[in-house]
Symmetry: C2
Subunit: 395 residues, 2 copies
Amino acid sequence: MSDAPDVGELTPPNRTLMGPGPSDVHPRVLRAMSTPLVGHLDPSFIDIMNEVQELMRYTFRTDNKWTIPVSGTGSASMEAAIGNLVEPGDTMLVPTNGYFGGRMESMAERAGGEVVHVDAPWGEPLDPADVQDAFDEHQPDVFGFVHAETSTGVKQPGVPELTSIAHDHDALVVADTVTSLGGVELEVDDWGIDVAYSGPQKCLSCPPGASPLTLNDRAMDKVLSREEPPRSWYLDLSLLEGYWGDDRSYHHTAPITNVYAIREALRLVAEEGIEERWARHRRVAGALKAGVEAMGLGLNPEDEYWLPSLNAVLVPDGVDAGAAIDYVLEHYDLEIAGGLGALAGDIFRVGCMGHSARPENVSFLLTALGEALEAQGADVDPEAGFAAMREQLGQ
Amino acid sequence: MSDAPDVGELTPPNRTLMGPGPSDVHPRVLRAMSTPLVGHLDPSFIDIMNEVQELMRYTFRTDNKWTIPVSGTGSASMEAAIGNLVEPGDTMLVPTNGYFGGRMESMAERAGGEVVHVDAPWGEPLDPADVQDAFDEHQPDVFGFVHAETSTGVKQPGVPELTSIAHDHDALVVADTVTSLGGVELEVDDWGIDVAYSGPQKCLSCPPGASPLTLNDRAMDKVLSREEPPRSWYLDLSLLEGYWGDDRSYHHTAPITNVYAIREALRLVAEEGIEERWARHRRVAGALKAGVEAMGLGLNPEDEYWLPSLNAVLVPDGVDAGAAIDYVLEHYDLEIAGGLGALAGDIFRVGCMGHSARPENVSFLLTALGEALEAQGADVDPEAGFAAMREQLGQ
């Protein structure tokens, strides 16, 4: 057996995070994570759980009792939603317009469901007429859509129209709000969303590890009346009901520190005010958008579908996206990302989320990206970018 | 929609954690958690991942390449083990001698497996003859056992004998090492354990959220040659292979801060030395055991099966266990727990794990528990307990 490894102190580089997530964590959230633990069944932890639920309802704009942090990263809350809602024999309608529709499909199939599709190209939202057609043709039990597609930077407009179609067909609606919660207008109750899941490391600027999930009574009724249990014990909401519901009985050990963290992150949302927070994201990301456009770059989605929290910036002709991404990381300790799937090599994905959605970050991004593109000989005008940014910010 | 909730600063009580977990987190681990994040695909994070894997192999006493932190609490690494190893149609042999055998059963069934049992009463270990009989009768594909039963305070002796029986029948062995890893002698490779899972919040004294898992090549070959994918996408080890293996490709966002934390917790193991750490647990928990016995209390398991990290102290006649547990929490901010299932009301579960396994904690426990029992009129002798404790510690 080997000797004890000699591993040095933790000294990661000091990055600025403007990729698709994680975003820069607020110092108050980092500080909350160094709080000593209480037990997951401690009476004082129950108060903390209640506070987290209350703050999370506020952030989701819902009165749903079933609003909890799932003990894992965003994909865990996603699988908790889909794996509990989809029973063997159910049909789930999923979109094809981005990476995360594909993940929905994989999860629904593993849950024992049949999957049907509503098509739209990567980089475009769903058309309600196509959703209507898919419902008429397939009569799905569950409809999943992505409110804010992290892979394409597209915001799905007209959510109430989509949920109406689903409800007219007696289906339940699951919304992926990973990159919208806490940063982009989202009205779970008013828009008729039955189930929404999210991640903490995007617009909430909280480290990943405990992930928001909300279900209304109609969805929870389906979960609690399943004929066979969900295929994951860890993510079984009927068992978690014992812990987060009135009993407070043991299911699994909650990730206590991550619950502390999301409590602080959600407190910051409440202090700022959810509508003010949406407005800040629009304003700061608007300056980012104006800046990159004035610099000579385009954004992939049409303005109508622009997602402030994730800006899909088109890579100029002749530029190697990977090399530019490496350049800003190496020279500026700045993280941005490239495209996935159908958009690999075609876009930069530039996040503007939570604590990263600040004017100084936009300025920094324009500097770094401009220099990286000029280093490859691209015809960009950073000065024009700065001017447009300042104008948008009223500076 | 409701107004922003007015939730105050995070001020949990200052507990001493000597229940079945979490244990007191080492200050260096808490501090590591306030480190700003890098992205989960950052080149620097890949180095951190490598270090965590190397430290985890050292702690598990294994050379297994497949040694990773699973993105969730201990039950997630448990379900990752069982859900990947058990295919529909497989038979899994599970024990009946504690709470966590029952959880294994539930997970194996959800994975599509058939479950058969090897019986032993709660509070006793498995008898190899019974394991042999169960193998001869059922020919299971997978055998799960609990090395350190958190619900009963029993350590399973003779693990190599159990794994030999399983291997003679061409089965794979999964060991629950949640309450042994890093505190109680455990030799994954030498003992022939194919798969072991654990939690970070016991003898590693790390907050829950990223949980150790190790699989040898034989187990991983089964996982990678499954006919149908595991039923959880989140916990699919063939997909996680892309992230933790040579590709380092995106699967899900890792809980970065929890990886920082477990890195620091495992560094502390390496600094202390794994064998020295086992010896400390034996010594300090030995003083706890001697102390409670001299005070007039018994331990539930026979000495041969005593589990240093979790002491199942018998509740004296006439004492209300719940009232005593509440007493020490209220008067001493000390967390201990009661029994589960067949042992509910009959035992106190007193952890002595990781950073909580210190002489001062033992002294504190004897003071608090002695007073709580005296408050209920029990005939205990705390002074004799202190004397025995000091003698064991050589003080």
